[in-house]
Amino acid sequence: MLFSSELIKGTLKTIILKLLSENKRMYGYEITQTVKELTSDKIQLTEGALYPTLHALEAEGLLTTETEYIGKRVRKYYSLSKNGKAKSLEKVNEFADFINTMKFLLDIKTKTT
């Protein structure tokens, strides 16, 4: 089953930050492929959501970038800045907490219905 883009949208920043905290540096296509592999195709990031988020994270100072020439084209690698590392931890913890809360909330619902 493929998750809906609405669900992914709220967690995209967390996904990117977490991935970058485990890999030194990644480029856009690599991020989509890694997510796809790790989730056995359940989460597929769309380019329309990924790149705006990457730019926003860079503007917030959470990511640093370096560019490399691959033949004639340019590849932009993203890695976590110092702030980004702290933010990544914070986001992951926040989301874990959120999952627990959701679990609790949904459990109650199933019990009452």
């Binding site: 296509y29 380019e47 329309g48 790149y51 705006p52 730019h55 503007a59 917030e60 691959i70 084209r73």
Partner: protein, 410 residues
């Protein structure tokens, strides 16, 4: 792995650009991404263009430019908060600087002008432009944006006019007039006709328009209606008459010099010294008057002309005072020099002609009628005194010079 040719890469990049993606950073990101997908998935012999189209279609809902739009939205939301914060901070700084600046100005304390400059500068250059940016972002209506733009422009001009007026910089009156005209004939009509079309804003628009017209009218009046024209015209005549008396005395004295210098028994050296000193003092005062008239009335005259001195009404008492006194209300160099020149003239008369002090130019203080304390000569004649009377008092000293001169040679 498929091998992309340079032409194919060029083709993709051009297509990205054609589809409305303008940010270079994003163009390069997308180019690399698409190239990666094609390299991984396209097999030799497959149709490149067909595969490319299919790939790009999956990127977003409709067109590629949506990605750029989404990026801009995410980036500006971030900027939005920074801008809002800066706007509030700059607003607070400028209000504080203006409040303290005006208070210091009233008290004649030093630093007033710096604070006012800072306050108005911050308001004009930081607060108002930021407000313009934020407000135009909040609305999609082009007419509304136009009104906000015109409002900001008038606001900036108003601040600049006030600054020019306080600093007595040249060009202040035309600036006030431009601000009034722009407000009355551009901003207010624009605001009124934009607002009146919206049923929900109709009443509000009418009320605000009335307030704006009233405020602009008052501002116009402040600059153009004189408190007492009669007094100013009276001063004009007083100056003219004193000046005529001066020229008459000058003529008489010159004629007397001629007679005396032809007479072999008179002391020629003393006479020439008296003539030189009188002329020099007279001329210095004439220069001060010319300087005041040119600065205050924004003219470029080369001769003192009392014509239209009553047209000046820009803080009637303050401008001459600010030119002749410093921030602490102490006489500045112009008055100091004048005082020294008059005193040394007096000394010369006293030592050369042995005249008593009644026959000399009076630079003594004057007793205050209320509490009996002595008011300095400079303060009594020039401090917070209307411009016309400042000129009259200066001309009076010139006449005194001629009279003292006359008592020595007649």
């Amino acid at each position: 792995m498929y091998n992309l040719s340079e032409q194919q890469i060029e083709y993709i990049l051009n297509d990205i650009r054609r589809n409305g993606v303008e940010m270079e950073d994003l163009q390069l990101n997308l180019l690399d991404h698409i190239c990666c997908i094609i390299e991984q998935n396209l097999k030799e012999g497959d149709d490149f263009e067909d595969f490319y189209r299919k790939t790009v279609k999956q990127f977003c809902k409709h067109e590629l430019w949506e990605i750029e739009e989404e990026t801009i939205i995410l980036l500006t939301i971030k900027n939005y908060y920074v801008m809002k914060k800066s706007m509030i901070i700059s607003g607070t700084i400028s209000v504080a600087a203006l409040l303290f600046g005006s208070f210091f100005k009233i008290m004649h304390w030093p630093g007033a002008n710096v604070m006012l400059l800072l306050g108005i500068g911050t308001l004009c250059l930081i607060f108002l432009p930021l407000m313009l940016l934020l407000k135009t972002k909040e609305t999609d209506d082009k007419r509304d944006k136009l009104v906000i733009g015109a409002g900001t422009l008038v606001g900036m001009l108003l601040c600049t006019s006030v600054l020019f007026a306080i600093m007595h910089w040249p060009g202040r009156t035309p600036l006030w007039m431009t601000t009034c005209a722009l407000s009355m004939f551009v901003l207010i009509p624009l605001y009124f006709f934009t607002g009146i079309r919206k049923p929900e804003a109709k009443i509000n628009t009418i009320i605000v328009t009335i307030i704006l017209v009233g405020a602009t009218g008052l501002q116009f009046m402040m600059v153009n209606v004189r408190p007492s024209r009669t007094m100013e015209i009276f001063n004009f005549y007083a100056n003219q008459d004193l000046a005529s008396a001066c020229s008459y005395a000058t003529e008489q004295n010159n004629a007397r010099y001629k007679t005396l210098l032809n007479d072999s028994s008179s002391a020629k050296k003393e006479l020439n010294e008296l003539r030189r000193r009188s002329y020099s003092l007279y001329k210095k005062i004439e220069e001060i008057k010319l300087d005041l008239i040119n600065t205050i009335l924004e003219r470029n005259d080369t001769l003192v002309d009392y014509m239209n001195i009553y047209t000046y009404n820009d803080g009637n008492y303050d401008l001459p005072t600010s030119l002749l006194f410093n921030n602490l209300g102490q006489p500045n160099s112009i008055l100091m020099r004048l005082r020294n020149d008059v005193d040394s003239f007096n000394l010369f008369i006293k030592t050369t002609y042995d005249k008593n002090s009644f026959s000399m130019i009076n630079t003594n203080g004057t007793k205050d009628l209320n509490d009996g304390h002595i008011i300095l000569w400079e303060v009594f004649n020039f401090y917070q005194v209307p411009f016309g009377i400042v000129l009259r008092n200066l001309t009076q000293i010139q006449l005194d010079v001629r009279i003292v001169e006359a008592t020595c040679i007649h």
